[in-house]
Symmetry: none
Subunit: 232 residues, 2 copies
């Protein structure tokens, strides 16, 4: 029996979801705002969360960030169709999936099944060894040991450099704007971040690249941002 936490300030929607999920054999635990959801999470074994974005007290995005600080269970975000999809995407919120309202019940169920399947199988049993190890090509970041290696050689980064590199490597392949990098690494509003990031990027390149002028790992996507190349 799997427990699914459904959190939305619209009680009708929560009720409807509960009915669909009960039919599927899932047990539903309800919450109506982010704070309540976090409480439920603390006191119950939850296998999957369905989380509305627009909510009072603590919205879905804040709540998700809190959850992600110490949990990796699957989260499906709910959003009204009107909310700009690009926006949701840009948030880069660490959700596993999202559905726009109004949703198709079969789709909801399919996504829940898929999330549960992913979570219960392999995925969750990542070994301690590689849990916090991020790599691309010959660049390896071990977040347990806080070490960075390039071609087997350890490289010393400052905390900020390390955090930027970890963030980008964790999400290798994806391009992040200067603002997104700043906000993710500093956990603060980005203001006049261009230069700050540029300087750090240069320092990182000096340390991890053979030829910083022609970076192999840390690439600029002109007009958009930076990314760590996915070489695996």
């Amino acid at each position: 029996m799997y427990n699914i936490l459904v959190c939305d300030d619209d009680k009708e929607i929560v009720k409807a979801i509960e009915i669909y999920l009960n039919k599927e054999g899932y047990n539903v635990i309800k919450a109506f705002d982010g704070e309540e959801a976090l409480k439920v999470l603390k006191n119950n074994t939850i296998h999957l969360i369905i989380l509305d974005i627009m909510m009072p007290k603590k919205d879905g995005i804040e709540t998700l960030n809190e959850i992600r600080k110490d949990k990796s269970i699957p989260v499906i975000m709910l959003s009204a169709k009107s909310e700009d999809e690009d926006k949701i995407n840009g948030l880069n919120l660490g959700a596993d999936d999202y559905i726009t309202k109004p949703f198709n019940p079969l789709e909801l169920i399919a996504r829940v099944n898929s999330g549960i399947r992913r979570y219960t199988k392999l995925g969750n049993f990542e070994t301690n060894e590689n849990k916090n190890v991020f790599k691309t090509g010959e660049l390896i970041i071990d977040d347990n040991l806080k070490t960075v290696k390039v071609d087997e050689q350890e490289v010393k980064l400052t905390p900020t450099e390390y955090n930027i590199l970890k963030f980008l490597t964790k999400n290798k392949g994806k391009v992040y704007s200067i603002e997104q990098i700043y906000e993710n690494v500093w956990e603060d509003e980005a203001y006049a971040a261009e230069n700050i990031i540029a300087v750090h990027i240069r320092h990182i390149r000096e340390k991890i690249e053979i030829n910083p002028k022609e970076p192999k790992y840390l690439k600029v996507i002109w007009g958009i941002g930076y990314k760590i190349e996915n070489l695996d």
Copy 2:
């Protein structure tokens, strides 16, 4: 192994369906009236139901209503051709699909496969990774990664080129005037945009087309505008 409940009072038809579905690797459980079907459902894990409408004791529609009270598995209704299709449709019975008798075995199998896929996997629904990927023929734009590939080969576009190509590919097949392209990509009034667009179009063609003089993807519709050919 998926279990499919087939319910029809015509034993010949049930037998025939069983043969078809067995060949496809499905396990068939049989019932010959609505009440029997409900009993079977109670005692077995059923993944899909094929249900005849005209049956003794409890007809298909009543049975379906019962089923829908506590289950949301896919149901394919069977009906004789004589029964008015519109009527069946209008019943709005919460069936996922229906087939008229006499049916084409290939169609039956296709619908069963599709039902199973939709129910168990994400099958027809867009997966998260798919959500922002636009393609036509061998041209693939991944807006998550901001990459463009032609024939598996990555191609580098400037931001403006990328935005134009994304806009047209997202709406492949449709023709957009120079003004429309400008307004959509620049999010500004188009003024003297002809030349600007023309130059960008040329650059894009140079990058994505084998022979820019005879473009395969980015075509001009003389006097109207440009489009990305729909090759799928």
